[in-house]
Symmetry: C2
């Protein structure tokens, strides 16, 4: 297979709104007035793209390692340049895994594999932003206490 | 003002779905099974983020330059690495501006300003992917013929 190619169309919808249509045909409103904040902004989309991209790697690796995971979320924070352009300079990705007896080594290894090998979004963003990962494991009984 | 800081949370929702919540509090489903393709995937989000980010710069600059724009869309294509990680290596951004007597110089300058100075998403992605811009101006009468 040669390089994958994809194409999105983004329509200006007036009043600082855009409607993005992804290559797979899904439309969504995009907000570009961050004060009004009625929908995700372009820079916000990068954060949830990063979280979900690394997330699917981590959860599937933990599944293969037969870890008993009962809940999983990723928190993504971004720091931006003060001057134009306000690109991300540092992205912090924290993985919070709930479960029963989940191995710390397994989580650390899953995050490392995603971060260094599999996650396409992280690899795309890393060119300009440092990506720092961390994790927390929550024992399920404790979480539900 | 110091660096802006933002935080998103991405929840694993089972079956290769994630729900991303942006810092401004907007939730959206994210698909990570690109064959099923029921919602935007993480890598697709980067394309519409780029289009809308540069789009708002261009449309606002054209407005300041008093150009008579009646329609505007941006097409964004991405080429990815064949090997892991499948990051974007090249992003093509085509601006299609419809209007009456829109100045080619004004459009070219607006795109250049966004690309080199204002667009935070482009500046973030450019670290790993080459970004190539182009534009087309459609005279409104012709577009409606």
């Amino acid at each position: 297979m040669t390089n994958k190619e994809t194409k999105a169309t983004v329509h200006f919808a007036g009043n600082d709104f855009f409607v993005g249509i992804t290559p797979s045909g899904h439309a969504q409103a995009i907000e570009t007035d961050s004060t009004r904040a009625t929908a995700a902004t372009p820079m916000e989309l990068l954060l949830i793209a990063l979280g979900s991209c690394t997330g699917v790697d981590v959860i599937s690796i933990l599944k293969k390692k037969r870890q008993h995971v009962t809940g999983y979320r990723i928190e993504v924070s971004g720091e931006r340049r003060e001057d134009f352009p306000h690109r991300y300079t540092r992205l912090q990705v924290k993985h919070i895994v709930s479960g029963r007896g989940v191995s710390s080594e397994a989580v650390a290894r899953a995050i490392e594999l995603s971060d260094t090998k599999y996650c396409s979004v992280a690899a795309t963003l890393r060119g300009s932003a440092e990506i720092v990962t961390s994790y927390e494991i929550v024992e399920e009984d404790q979480a539900n206490a």
